[in-house]
């Protein structure tokens, strides 16, 4: 059974960073359910062969604390990976477990942190949270290295419950203290000092001497809990299922209010929450199962263009639409700075609360950057994708009516859905000047088609995914 191309485009915008026309054609012959199943089974798809070239072009130098190189590689993977959901889930967890380079005495541990998220992104949440608690970047970011058996530091214990797994109102201050006790001794080896040789990674160690082995009472359970036990208890709670489900809904389905409002404002779609929560609990927090049920649900299928793209999605999506980006492409190195200017410095979120999403991505400066970047790409005919967007219409055998022309432009740009107001403006331009089609490859026909794409990528709707 065939699948609607608009739906596949939607799925790939959310589960990845867009789709090429070739892949769209190929997938449209398959059933939607099996497209989703294939997306989730990332273990069956090999890594890109270009990883080797990337690591030689963008080496991680011990002597600098420049994390732009790692973001360069990440953007390359977002655009080209054959398992886009892996990169998208990694970005999702980076939003939730926001950890940053600027508070990191051993910068390169952030690279291991992202690799840890990538490895665990579709596994059981228990594994992911346990690895998160033993991640040196996280340990330093939330001061767990200062969390001692005889003198606890609650920073990690608090955020684990508040921002990483349950949300405010679902635990007591005593639970925070008891959880913190269970994570005492979870620290890292003292790394090689910064001077004179540069930054070195540090490794996790469990320091028995500094661990509080006494009895703890956590969320109504009693025992001589260690960190893993705390994580296991958390993951079984309905509060955790709800919290993660709401995060997933906000990132993959439709913009929700920001986290501090979650304890006051109910979720937008209670029914969707129920589906995600029950899948989460029934599968024992298996993220593959949860993601499959999300993507296959009606609430997902009906959520087209209900999210504002984050800068990483905007940049990777615009490049995927207009260009082929090889591992040696000069432009890759600029993407780290570009997304920072648009408000998202990957590997360096503003706070442990992560980036504020939805319309908070947009201000006058970031909107200008986004529009100018997309316009620059789509008008540059040296970009193979931009050129074929134009060729596709100019080389049409039949004459295209103004309405057909606008509809084809929308389809080629990813089956976009625009408001009547935007459609009418595009239609107005499409009705003027030379007719497009009939293989009329003149310069003014090309200019007109380029103008239509320029306006489309400048439209308010192009900011949405």
């Amino acid at each position: 059974m065939a699948t609607d191309k608009a739906l596949i485009s939607h799925l790939y915008r959310r589960a990845g960073f867009g789709i090429t026309s070739e892949l769209l054609e190929e997938l449209s012959k398959k059933e939607y359910e099996s497209i989703v199943d294939d997306l989730v089974e990332i273990d069956k798809i090999p890594d890109l062969p270009d990883e080797d070239i990337l690591s030689r072009y963008y080496p991680q130098l011990q002597s600098t604390d420049n994390f732009g190189l790692d973001n360069t590689k990440w953007f390359y993977r977002m655009i080209n990976s054959k398992k886009p959901l892996q990169e998208k889930m990694t970005l999702f967890w980076h939003h939730v477990f926001a950890t940053g380079w600027t508070k990191s005495e051993q910068g390169p541990t952030m690279i291991d942190h992202i690799a840890m998220l990538r490895k665990n992104c579709l596994l059981n949440l228990r594994t992911l949270l346990t690895d998160l608690a033993s991640d040196p970047a996280m340990i330093f970011w939330l001061d767990n290295c200062e969390n001692h058996g005889k003198n606890i530091n609650e920073n990690f214990g608090r955020e684990l419950l508040e921002l990483f797994s349950m949300g405010i109102g679902n635990y007591s201050e005593d639970d925070i203290k008891e959880a913190s006790r269970a994570f005492t001794g979870w620290t890292f080896e003292q790394p090689i000092p910064l001077y004179p040789y540069g930054h070195f990674k540090s490794q996790f160690i469990f320091d028995e001497e500094d661990h509080d082995f006494g009895e703890k009472e956590f969320l109504g359970n009693k025992g001589n809990f260690n960190g893993e036990d705390i994580v296991a208890i958390i993951v079984k709670t309905e509060a955790c299922a709800k919290f993660i489900s709401r995060h997933l809904y906000n990132f993959f389905v439709a913009d929700e209010p920001q986290i501090p409002a979650w304890s006051i404002e109910p979720p937008k779609d209670e029914e969707a929450m129920n589906i995600l929560v029950s899948t989460f609990l029934n599968s024992d927090a298996d993220m593959k199962e949860v993601m499959k049920s999300l993507f296959k649900s009606d609430f997902f299928k009906n959520s087209m263009f209900k999210r504002v793209k984050c800068p990483a999605e905007f940049i990777a999506g615009a490049l995927k639409l207009t260009s082929e980006i090889g591992p040696k492409d000069d432009r890759l190195a600029s993407l780290h700075g570009l997304s920072a200017v648009m408000g998202q410095t990957l590997l360096d979120p503003p706070t442990v609360e992560g980036w504020h999403t939805g319309k908070e991505w947009i201000d006058g400066g970031s909107l200008t950057e986004r529009i100018n970047y997309a316009v620059g790409l789509v008008t540059d005919m040296n970009n193979s994708g931009s050129k074929s967007l134009v060729d596709n219409l100019v080389n049409s055998d039949k004459e295209l009516s103004a309405e057909q022309l606008v509809n084809l432009i929308l389809i080629n740009a990813g089956y976009l859905d625009v408001s009547e107001q935007t459609f009418d403006q595009l239609l107005d331009i499409a009705s003027k000047g030379p007719t497009v089609g009939n293989n009329n490859d003149s310069e003014d026909v090309r200019d007109k088609v380029i103008q239509l794409y320029t306006l489309l990528v400048s439209s308010p709707e192009f900011q949405l995914a």
Binding site: T102, K103, V341, M342, D363, I371, T379, Q421
Partner: protein, 387 residues
């Protein structure tokens, strides 16, 4: 019509952010104190090279323009500005300076709240203008519009389109696409809020760009600025300010102060650029009879470690700030932090002597005429640096 008697112009604040953590100890040097020479064995300036301006203090050898401004009585030096438990993270420290919230994480920038006070209905997108890439957090808050200009000579939307008539035609269509509407996306209510927000933001950008487009051609000056980022940004401030577009807050940034290594050549260059840039800026304002309403604040997110590391200095605390302008009563304010090792913070840093929020409060209340308590989130001791 007879020209009206010139009314008093609205006060304007110009912020110069030194990004990376300026080494205050090598900016305003306690040149008669032996401890300075002991701790700054490699990364320091010899007596005779630094530029004395009091019996005990000297400017960086390349900051002669600063000494001249100081001698003119237009520079207040706030010695030892900071806050308790100073953060050594660039990001966190900058955030603390930008939001006035050292203990928890805040989302509203202090200058964004100033814009909201001055222009509550967002009627002028140019009430605050920042030069450089991206909007600093100080200017960001929900519902507040501030304009971020990377290149004033080519500012606005679709600037890559070279054919100007084509670009203008596109902007016409753009303004219609970004007209706020009652019904968006077939009346989907929740999208409507976002779409109207996008529409308002897009219209603001367009309006700001339209107001700024003639600025470069209107400006004439005999002042020749140097070719570096801070000089360009300060020249842009004069260009926009003298166009009379109602801007009350300007934001500029001078980057590169994070000198863990090779500090001597790098900091020398920056000090020259900064001090000359500000001197040229003051001369340019003078030429345009626009000096009296402007006050400049120069700050950095933190100072640097007392002892150098052989090549540079690591992140520290207790830096200094400058308030510059015609209405400033020049001189030294608050105390220079003790450089006696027994009084170093954590055994290695300068200890701040004045809270940065008191400096903001001073500027807000005594210069901009605003109540500072809601903006800086509390009541902090102020200075009296104005005539």
């Amino acid at each position: 019509m007879v020209a009206e008697k010139k009314t008093k112009k609205d006060p304007v604040l110009v912020v110069v952010q030194l990004s990376g953590g300026n080494d205050f100890l090598n900016t305003v040097i306690p040149f008669t104190n032996g401890i300075y020479y002991d701790v700054r064995n490699y990364v320091g300036h010899k007596e005779g090279e630094s530029l004395p301006f009091t019996d005990e203090l000297a400017f960086h050898p390349n900051a002669e323009p600063f000494r001249e401004i100081y001698k003119d009585g237009k520079m207040a030096i706030i010695q030892g500005i900071g806050y308790e438990n100073s953060s050594r993270s660039h990001f966190r420290a900058m955030d603390i300076w930008h939001t006035c919230e050292p203990n928890t994480v805040a989302t509203e920038g202090w200058l964004a709240k100033v814009i909201r006070e001055i222009d509550p209905n967002s009627s002028n997108p140019l009430t605050a203008v920042s030069f450089g890439k991206g909007l600093p957090r100080a200017l960001a808050a929900p519902g507040v519009i501030a304009t971020s200009v990377d290149n004033l000579d080519n500012y606005g939307l679709m600037t890559s389109i070279e054919d100007n008539s084509q670009r203008l035609a596109n902007l016409e269509v753009f303004s219609r696409m970004y007209t706020p509407a009652d019904e968006w996306m077939g009346g989907r209510h929740e999208s409507g809020v976002v779409m109207n927000y996008l529409a308002n933001t897009g219209s603001g950008v367009l309006q700001g760009a339209d107001m700024l487009k003639d600025v470069p051609s209107r400006y004439k000056s005999s002042v020749e600025y140097a070719d570096n980022s801070i000089a360009k940004a300060l020249r842009d401030v004069v260009r926009v300010h003298t166009s009379g577009l109602g801007t009350r807050v300007f934001y500029t940034q001078h980057g590169g102060y994070d000198h863990h290594a090779q500090e001597m050549p790098a900091h020398d260059r920056l000090m020259g650029e900064l001090s000359q840039g500000i001197k040229d800026f003051l001369a340019d304002l003078e030429e345009h009879e626009a000096s009296d309403e402007i006050v400049i604040l120069v700050f950095s997110e933190f100072g640097r470690r007392m002892k150098d590391n052989g090549s540079g200095t690591d992140h520290g605390s207790g830096g200094g700030a400058f308030i510059i302008g015609n209405k400033v009563n020049g001189g030294l304010y608050s105390e220079y932090p003790s450089i006696d090792p027994s009084e170093w913070l954590n055994g290695e840093d300068l200890k701040h002597t004045f809270d940065y929020r008191g400096v903001y409060g001073t500027l807000l209340e005594q210069h901009l005429g605003l109540d500072p308590s809601e903006i800086v989130l509390g009541n902090f001791e102020q200075l009296s640096p104005f005539k």
